[in-house]
């Protein structure tokens, strides 16, 4: 009977996890302003209304700028950290790596408030730039985790073979290491982009007058008539996130398969 209970548990778990997400497209295509059952017939008008909603496009633009910048910066930092942690031994390595990974488990609200206090303290005006700073802090642990897995699956002697054949450390990195960890880099870019794109708390606290997409969505919930539009927007974002994460995982796995290593990590 134990197996039976386990099945019930697994089912309940999946329902709680995914039911809300399934509701999103349901109401996005529902022909009614009120979010309630029974459904009222199929429409795509919320999607066309979304297209002309005021404030949506500036928010999207801000979000894209922030997501692209923090993905690039966090991935660059992740490459350095992953390379250092897999290739070199240095005193206090475990402690330093632990500190870098800490934002992964810190409550985001604490991080956001502390950052706000610091920024206000040093008199830096709140802007897109400060959100990028916050997002880099949040996403770097993810990029390090992904890239460490990519660097670890590299056979150390590949690099030595490149030196042995006359390459300098820099050209060996470019010709051998970079191509082999490239799938990891792409995966890291996509995941940090996705995380930044739908991050709310930091964007809300550190954005000042600059509104990102999640902040915009939150603000729109005050107006009941715009809720179906948000559902439409939400549907698109969910679809996009799933797509990006799938591509990211595809690249991570391909990278490991290509360099002949074993799968030791990753998020999906």
């Amino acid at each position: 009977m134990r197996g039976g209970w386990f099945k019930v548990y697994a089912l309940a778990y999946l329902v709680f996890l995914y039911a809300p997400i399934v509701l999103l497209p349901m109401f996005a295509f529902n022909d009614a302003t009120v979010i309630a059952f029974p459904l009222n017939g199929f429409t795509t008008k919320w999607f066309s209304e979304m297209w002309v909603a005021p404030g949506l496009w500036p928010a999207l633009k801000n979000s894209l700028i922030i997501a692209v910048s923090s993905a690039v910066i966090a991935t660059a930092l992740g490459i350095f950290a992953a390379r250092a942690s897999t290739r070199y031994k240095f005193p206090g390595k475990a402690g330093i790596m632990g500190l870098i990974m800490l934002p992964l488990v810190l409550p985001e609200i604490i991080v956001a408030v502390s950052l706000l206090v610091v920024l206000l303290g040093i008199g830096m005006p709140l802007s897109i730039f400060t959100v990028i700073l916050g997002h880099v802090l949040m996403t770097t642990p993810f990029t390090i985790a992904i890239l460490t897995s990519a660097f670890q699956s590299l056979d150390r002697s590949l690099e030595e073979a490149a030196y042995d054949l006359g390459e300098t450390p820099i050209s060996a990195f470019r010709l051998v290491i970079l191509p082999l960890v490239m799938p990891g880099i792409i995966s890291s870019l996509l995941i940090s982009f996705t995380i930044s794109l739908d991050e709310f708390i930091i964007a809300f606290f550190l954005g000042g007058t600059q509104v990102t997409l999640p902040v915009y969505i939150f603000s729109q919930f005050r107006f009941p008539q715009s809720v179906p539009v948000i559902m439409a927007l939400g549907t698109i974002l969910v679809a996009l996130s799933i797509l990006l994460l799938s591509i990211a995982e595809y690249f991570r796995r391909r990278g490991i398969a290509k360099s002949g290593g074993k799968d030791t990590g990753g998020f999906l």
């Binding site: 490149a162 030196y163 006359g166």
Partner: protein, 369 residues
């Protein structure tokens, strides 16, 4: 068959009192040796004795803590790996998985900026040399173990290094493939005339392939000599134990003159041993007489010994197809020794418990003291 070229007297690599410390661990403890140009040289020893470390000091992947390494007469202390006239075949082969076979083999030529036609010709030539003609366009990560190894060889040899370093290149192959590659490597070395330095922990492999062998224990070279000397006249019990099988019987040195050492050996009685057949042993240990399983002969009924003979009892018979091993207790000794006989006439007739006679001569005995 390519005739074996005479190894020159020219020195290619020289170690002068080389030490290597990893933190507190003394990995190389005063290595002094020379490797000649054109030689097939092996570093042989048990796991962890420092063979790979020593090889990597030649390649330039490992700095040394003390001492000097000379390659072709030049101190290489300040020469980085990418500037040394050596190339390496890695234990894992280290084939670049994102490149084709041809790109792998031509990798080291990138710096020379050859015209495409020249590059292709050089790569094709190198591939042909290792028996991979026509494999250039294959993806490297889809090759078998034996093919990877050939690619690794071609990739290293295409640069015409002064020294080729091989770190247990055959250990990942199955037995058949390994034996085939041993022969191919020997032929290849004769063909290109480059100094080969092979790391192995397989004594048979070292004996088969090498002009000279350095046996290492715990960061030191215990004996450096050609295969036959190593086998016939190991300079210590430890080397003797590591290379093949050696039987030991207790002995006592009675007297010693310049030309001969008089020994009282258990089972053999009083004999004279040539000082050339005497190996040094760590002081404190008692002396012993050693001999290889095939150097003593079990006599047939009625057969006469050419030199001397002694009675013995068969204690164990182990049949190996081409050979049979006999554990026999020689009269007057306490523990059995292992002898081997070729099975020329099919299955041996001797059985456990039978009495027999064994022919021996003092020349087959090595004195350890």
């Amino acid at each position: 068959m390519i005739p074996k070229p005479a190894v020159s007297d020219q020195t290619m690599i020289e170690f002068k009192d080389v030490h290597k410390w990893y933190g507190d661990y003394h990995a190389l403890r005063g290595i002094t040796a020379t490797i000649r140009a054109g030689e097939f040289f092996s570093l042989l020893g048990p796991s962890g004795c420092g063979k790979t470390t020593l090889l990597r000091t030649i390649a330039g992947f490992e700095g040394i803590s003390e001492g000097v390494v000379l390659i072709d007469g030049k101190d290489v202390a300040d020469v980085p790996a990418n500037k040394r006239p050596t190339n390496m075949v890695f234990q894992s082969y280290a084939i670049f998985p994102h490149l084709t076979v041809a790109q792998n083999v031509g990798f080291g030529l990138r710096k020379q900026r050859l015209a495409k036609a020249d590059l292709d010709a050089r790569v094709a030539e190198a591939l042909e040399m290792v028996g991979l003609k026509g494999y250039g366009a294959r993806a490297a990560h889809a090759l078998s173990g034996g093919q990877r190894q050939r690619v690794a060889l071609a990739r290293a040899l295409i640069l015409k290094p002064k020294v080729l370093l091989l770190d247990e290149p055959l250990s990942a192959l199955d037995k058949k493939m390994r034996e085939q590659m041993q022969v191919e490597l020997i032929k290849l070395q004769r063909q290109v005339g480059i100094t080969f330095i092979l790391v192995t922990h397989d004594q048979e492999e070292a004996l088969v392939m090498s002009d000279r062998i350095a046996v290492m224990f715990e960061g030191e070279i215990a004996q450096l000599s050609d295969a036959e000397t190593l086998y016939r006249r190991p300079n210590s019990r430890r080397v003797a134990d590591f290379i093949g099988t050696m039987n030991f019987l207790p002995a006592e040195v009675i007297s010693e003159t310049a030309g001969s050492i008089e020994v009282e050996a258990q089972g053999f009685g009083r004999i004279h041993v040539d000082p050339k057949q005497a190996a040094s042993e760590a002081p404190g240990k008692s002396a012993s007489i050693g001999f290889r399983p095939e150097t003593l002969t079990i006599l047939h009924e009625g057969q006469q010994a050419t030199d001397r003979e002694v009675g013995a009892t068969i204690e164990e018979v182990v049949y190996y197809g081409d050979m049979t091993y006999y554990d026999v207790k020689i009269d007057g000794t306490e523990k059995p020794v292992r002898l081997s006989m070729r099975n020329v006439f099919g299955r041996p007739v001797l059985d456990i418990g039978m009495r027999t006679r064994i022919a021996w001569s003092p020349g087959a005995l090595v004195l350890f003291r």
